[in-house]
Symmetry: C2
Subunit: 195 residues, 2 copies
DNA sequence: CGGGCACATTGACCCAGATCAATGAAACGC
DNA sequence: GCGTTTCATTGATCTGGGTCAATGTGCCCG
């Protein structure tokens, strides 16, 4: 059990993948960097997320805490022993991987084909649905910075900010503070997410 | 064992996911559609590829043959029996899923942050590496249409065409015919893929 | 309480790539 | 052999979102 403070990196792309993690609390961002500093956030991870299931010998992405993170760390060898002892775990990991693949495909559609407005609306919708608790909530927590949202949606900070402002002007959302968005008109948000 | 002709769709997004496929020959494109017809190709599938491992009850994407495809079709229940009988298969699927996740993350970086030139160069590079045979080849087969490449890279047909023309003008590639590209200067191609 | 810092918002302008519009160039049926 | 269809290429123009540049707005710490 390890505690990671906000801004601290606990997986680095390209390093030897000798461990496997399970987040038990907090939130983190997963990202890939290009040589010149361009960054793509490939996902956010919350409680229950498994990380570092690398097939290759090195990690394919980096991970950094957003809010304080607590995580269980397994050495790679120990993971394989666990998999051998508990077949149900392997099934569970396979299901998780399949779920993540579906999410990744949805994100490719977003990045490749959606407008800025559709991306931001889709993101807010997804955050509302994926929230730790069960059913979609009107109040969405955004623990990440605007720059993180931008790097997740393939946009710039300015475009994210302008788009949120426009959605607010249209009465679709409210922005009580920088880390929260209230979905005032979910139906129109869904329409904005499609086109 | 089923035979699918080019242009024929054998998985449809949203339909009940009652089967699981393994491609034994040919090539296919996997894609998601938006209501207004915008399309994102999330990947291409060749011999050996597993398809349709849906966690949810419906397929998350459609699949259509590019070249004639031969595939093994398993009913969902039969897959679960196979998984129970052959634990090695489950491990294999988990590895495949992890590999696909890594590829999906790389594609998110491409779609979110790379320029048109970098996307096309990255694509050619990846096709050279992923070719059915082992080591990277100079002659890359592109069985898909320009429109498929465009929808895979989040570009338009025109931009793909212009970018290929420019890479050829620079002496980085040759285009002997519409379905083949010869990598004349792999080192510069790699540089073009990064920035 | 007030200066400084980190982050977000807003405005003015620009450009990579989209769109619109011909023009090639294979492949096919007749 | 020769229209016809389909796909790719090329050119001209337009625009959504990027870039550059201030301007807010908390929040922390002395």
């Amino acid at each position: 059990m390890v505690q990671i403070e906000p801004g601290q990196c606990f997986i680095t792309e390209g390093e030897t993948a000798d461990a496997f993690f399970n987040i038990t609390a907090g939130s983190a961002k997963l990202y890939k960097l290009m040589a010149d500093g361009r960054r793509q956030i490939t996902g956010f991870a919350f409680r229950g997320h498994f990380l570092g299931l690398a097939v290759s010998s090195t990690y394919a992405f980096s991970a950094e805490a957003i809010e304080p993170v607590r995580l269980c760390r397994f050495a790679r060898a120990r993971l394989f022993r666990l998999l051998a002892d508990f077949p149900a775990l392997e099934r569970r990991l396979l299901e998780r991987a399949a779920t993540e693949l579906v999410a990744a495909q949805e994100q490719m559609l977003l990045l490749g084909r959606k407008t800025a407005r559709e991306r931001v609306a889709s993101f807010l919708r997804a955050q509302a649905l994926a929230a730790p608790c069960g059913r979609p909530r009107a109040m969405v927590a955004l623990p990440m910075r605007r720059g993180d949202i931008a790097d997740y949606l393939g946009l710039t900070i300015e475009t994210v900010s302008r788009t949120l402002t426009r959605l607010r002007a249209e009465g679709i959302i409210e922005i009580p503070d920088q880390t929260h968005v209230l979905l005032r008109d979910p139906a129109r948000l869904v329409r904005a997410a499609e086109g």
